[in-house]
Subunit: 707 residues, 2 copies
């Protein structure tokens, strides 16, 4: 399920607010028995299952070598080469892969045996990593653990007073869940191959192991079909992956311990199929590539036996192309309008005594499951496909939440959670991080039922992302979800997570991901030729805003967005979490907690506010020159206004002042005005400003402290 | 000539200081008759030969199309596709190459005929670009002009209050010199293919047309030879270009209107050849890949007929691989030690009545020229190869300067200037920009002799660059050299050049060049995990320093650098020109010029100084944690010290004070101390600080203004 706005508002927002959106419980993992195991200064993400630190550290220099003792193969050799290359990038030391005797290398990798040729769900991914001042070792039963161990080693390496080092440590690690995925929607916006590759590199770094590739949509059919070439030729605007490219990506992912699960969404979300094959649809053609966003009418005709013959051939072709055992058929958001409008279909429903359109879709799903099964695969579908009459090997991917997953598990079905992991909603990393596949209703399952909850998947739906900014909408937040799916459940302190995530974020850029540097590049385009001061003013504003959350982008748009709408505005160019606003919030909390008597923090807050108050004037020249800067004029004024309001609160606190009810109402009105989204932007410092106004006002926690 | 430090200090520094290093003459090109032709707000670089601006502008939207009227071919079609892709990146608009009727496109390109299959020196590169509110056209006699015209159009496009636009304009353009090159030394540090490709993209953007590829050095032989595979197999550490890769790069360059001239340096700079072929050397082997920098003894044996047989076969192979008519044989810096030490060679010199080693090298050059000529090429060499007995088709590349070029021109030889264009010396763009191939002795040549001065080449010697930071050592400064070689000689105002270069620099990043964003990435590695404030402190220091200039890197090193020395220090991570220091300098000039009574500017200066003064304390935590930050501790203290000194000067000026001779001596000592390089860094604000101290002191221009 992606875009059913009506649906979401009717039902799932309630689910969300009940089960996921409560206040973050800032339980400190270190208070849960981990403090002796994991030192805060270790920047490992995901946190390993077991860590014991030692004394001393291993020096990393240009003489560093890595070698295999025991099993080795092409994948391991490739991994070692990439490892050395990354180590070289992380340190700036000139390193090369050199043949060395296994036992004499700096890092020795002991692998017992190969993992499966086609990577399988539930293979052993454990490893032991040991580092001492003399060297290191990774020990793993198979390739998968070795790959993970090498990634952990890379995260240990850091600059020190004496050069680059890895601390002495013993890590015994294994994942909590066997299915840890990232879905990328290549249907709505085509995502080029090199972008996918670098995101797979990122997945490897955080130990995710399933790349779910959403390949067909109303807006595009993205796979070359040799059996039915009209699918990609007519349904993709020329933007599709060739079978060679797909094989290349699957090999690329396998080298990194990652399975590739394809999704072809059926029977809805299927306009793009019908452009070349209108005979498969339930309504009359002709069809064209959809440019709008939303849920649309076209759907396969479940009453047409030729549809099943077609799908049998098509899935047969794809089952060979994609070796993974799981095959995703979507199954979500059929609005039924084409079925309602087609008398032949309605007659079929009556004749077969099906329960309306839902019954018809179940009829379709059963036949589809038979086809998928015939080609040796297990079917995966969104919640809607769940029905107790289907075989137990299917897997439910849940956008509805843990209750839905728990229900499936009780019925004997395996499931993966995506509710709470929708990256496109713009949530904070902390909010995703608080969502646990075993939370809510799932917590009450029996141990056997719990086994059926395989893990989860982050979902990157692509209405508002393209090749240019998709990295920034996935990273670094996806690392928080990856940790939730790998690390022990008790690891859940958001502050500690953020500290590690910021460090990881920088490391991810070394892999070629662009989530940090894209922003400057886009803002430069938005600004046009600009002086240092002018550009700095734009940067300052960009640093305190976030895009509207959830489906606010559509709600606040001046007109309907389409796949052709440029994604070149400030809202597209800014990170999803404002660190500057977070830092202000922390300063205000500290200041208020100290009874507003902490002069040093007060001075820090004041310095920040003066910069914000004066920023609007500095941004004026760019507003005159660039329509894309002009769009954020209102937000810029709001920033100046709330900064002034907070300065007034500070003045009242420091010098005494008339911070009575009328004053409070006036300042609060300023903040409330600023909290209305403008240019689809949220002004993130507003709550902290309000907090200080409240504290300063009559009856507030710091009211007139110096009187 | 690259590294002859002794040589350079003995002779060429005198030349440099006489002809190139004088104060920049800030002549305003707009006062030279161009002001009516080129509006300052047009950010074209290089400045075209003729520009006339019109009224209105052409709106750039997603419906933009480009088509050819007249001649078209695969290269032009490819250029149009790249053009649309770049336009899309520059605007964030979704654009695609669409077939349109020639005359109905937004931009119509009229090309009369194809250019030569193998691009030749001196082909017509002119074009006319016209833009009105209704559309645009590029008209050119051949492909080369069309390529240039498309680049000019891209530079015209900018954000405006009403969307993206190109202003109405007529450009009639043609280059001043036919040879406008960039040399990259792939011998000392291997430079990977993708780095070369993006630099060739950058060359196209600034209309350079020769990529000079320095392919063999003591430190590496970088080309696959199928005739003599031991050359690359034993002489490259495995870092070489395959012939397929080379053909690919030549095709890539041709598509962008760029010739590729290979250089194989003979008979010196040749250690890497002798590892596989010691029989060609003048001294006894065995040889190993050189790791140190400098001039070394190994040289080909000119007395050995087998050497010529070998070179005939080798050059024959390379002459086929590299289609360009010119073939560079180096010829520089033979120290003669192996020749002196070899009695057989000395006997040969006597027997043939040669004038010592120089005569022996001339003997070698003549035979070499015969071989090059036999394979259909014209020979290019550094100054040292010049001798009046050589045929007139050879070309001299001068590291010695215009006098040397002028002398060659008088003797009938063509030449290209590289003296003054050595990018590795760390000069400012303005200093390179002031160097003109027709300057100095060349100014007095006859028109016919002047014709022999073909242009120039920027040279990127690679002792202190690698794949990670080479872009930043080439760009954006190379654009200033490109403009010198393309634009009318009167275009020479450095302030105007910098304004345009800063805009271009951002555009170059859209091509994939990394000269701007690499710095943050390297500094993040240097810092290790850091808070926002800590990292900002490092950034602040990095923004005010530059690497030591000329050969200072070697002079100030604690030990000899080699090809294995890591390039991961602050000195490697900073841009070559400090904009922050430049901005301070401009503020101080403005302040002093106003008699130090400009309170607003004084306040700006003070705000900047306070940040600098306080920065050292903020950087302390990183110094404790990172050896790479610790290295710049002295510079950080110096920054605090000079900031304090300048604050004292400001105080004296604003509040009166005892700025007497003793005070001046004390403050000046602080500045002088800070001007000594530390960590191979120069603290760039120092001169502006001294200027304010001087102004404030007794007898200074602003002494006691408020008393």
């Amino acid at each position: 399920m992606r875009r059913a706005k009506v649906w979401l508002r009717g039902l799932s927002l309630m689910i969300l607010s009940a089960s996921l959106c409560g206040p973050l419980r800032a339980q400190d993992s270190r208070s849960l028995g981990l403090q002796t195991l994991v030192q805060p200064e270790l920047n490992l993400m995901p946190v390993p299952a077991n860590v014991r630190t030692g004394n001393g550290s291993l020096k990393i220099d240009a003489g560093f070598t890595v070698a295999f003792a025991g099993h080795s193969d092409a994948r391991l050799n490739g991994a070692a080469e990439r490892f050395v290359e990354r180590l070289s990038k992380q340190t700036g030391l000139l390193m090369a892969m050199r043949p060395v005797n296994g036992t004499k290398a700096t890092l020795v990798v002991h692998v017992d045996h190969d993992s499966k040729q086609v990577q399988e769900l539930g293979e052993d991914e454990s490893y032991v990593l040991e580092v001492s001042s003399n060297g290191g070792s990774v020990t793993a039963p198979n390739d998968l653990g070795a790959l993970h161990g090498l990634q952990t080693f890379l995260q240990l390496v850091s600059v020190s007073p004496d050069g680059f080092v890895a601390p002495a440590i013993t890590v015994k690690d294994t994942p909590r869940f066997p299915w840890r995925g990232l879905m990328i929607d290549a249907g709505r916006h085509f995502i080029p191959m090199e972008v996918l590759r670098r995101n797979i590199d990122g997945m490897e770094a955080v130990k995710m192991n399933v790349f779910h590739w959403h390949l067909s949509e109303n807006q595009g059919f993205r796979v070359e079909s040799r059996k039915f070439p009209k699918l990609h030729q007519m349904g993709s605007d020329g933007l599709y992956y060739t079978q060679d490219e797909i094989r290349g990506l699957i090999a690329y992912a396998r080298e990194r311990g990652i399975r590739v699960v394809p999704e072809f969404d059926l029977p809805g979300h299927s306009t793009a199929w019908f452009i070349g094959h209108p005979e498969l649809a339930s309504g009359p053609g002709p069809f064209t590539v959809e440019r709008r966003w939303g849920v649309f009418d076209p759907a396969f005709d479940p009453t047409n036996e030729k549809v099943y013959k077609f799908l049998d051939e098509f899935i047969g072709e794809m089952a060979k192309l994609f070796p993974d055992h799981f095959f995703h058929v979507g199954g979500d958001e059929v609005n039924g309008k084409q079925w309602d409008a087609n008398p032949k279909i309605q007659e079929f429903i009556r004749a077969h005594d099906l329960k309306g359109n839902a019954g018809l879709q179940l009829y379709f799903n059963k036949k589809l499951q038979g086809i998928v099964s015939k080609h040796g695969k297990s079917m995966v579908g969104w919640d809607e496909v769940l029905d107790p009459t289907l075989p137990k090997d299917i897997v439910i991917q849940s956008w509805r939440g843990q209750a839905s997953l728990a229900e499936a598990a009780k019925q004997g079905y395996r499931g993966i959670l995506s509710n709470g992991y929708y990256l496109d909603l713009g949530w904070s990393a902390a909010r995703h991080y608080a969502v646990d596949p075993m939370g809510g209703a799932a917590a009450n399952l029996t141990p056997e039922e719990k086994q059926r909850i395989l893990g989860g998947e982050a979902c990157m739906w692509s209405e508002y992302v393209n090749a240019e900014n998709i990295d920034s909408r996935i990273w670094p937040r996806n690392a928080a979800i990856a940790e939730r799916l790998w690390s022990p459940q008790e690891v859940r302190d958001p502050g500690w997570m953020y500290a590690r995530m910021h460090v990881l974020s920088t490391q991810l850029e070394w892999l070629g991901l662009t989530h940090e540097n894209y922003s400057t590049r886009m803002l430069r385009r938005i600004a046009g030729p600009a002086s240092s001061e002018e550009f700095h003013a734009l940067r300052t504003l960009a640093d305190v805003v976030e895009p509207v959350k959830d489906y606010g982008r559509e709600e606040t748009a001046s007109g309907p967005a389409t796949s052709e709408t440029p994604l070149n505005r400030v809202v597209d160019a800014i990170p999803l979490e404002s660190r500057a606003a977070q830092e202000l919030s922390e300063m205000v909390d500290k200041y208020v907690a100290a009874g507003c008597r902490d002069a040093a923090t007060g001075a820090q807050i004041r310095a920040q506010l003066i910069l914000w108050r004066d920023n609007d004037a500095k941004l004026q020249p760019l507003m005159q020159r660039s329509f894309l800067v002009k769009e954020v004029a209102g937000t810029s004024q709001d920033l100046a206004a709330i900064a002034s309001a907070e300065l007034a609160a500070l003045d009242a606190l420091e010098h005494g002042g008339n911070a009575d009810e009328a004053w409070k109402a006036q300042q609060t009105a300023v903040v409330q005005q600023a909290q209305k989204p403008k240019g689809q932007l949220l002004l993130m410092p507003a709550p902290a400003v309000q907090k200080l106004i409240d504290a300063a006002s009559t009856g507030g926690s710091c009211a007139a402290p110096k009187q």
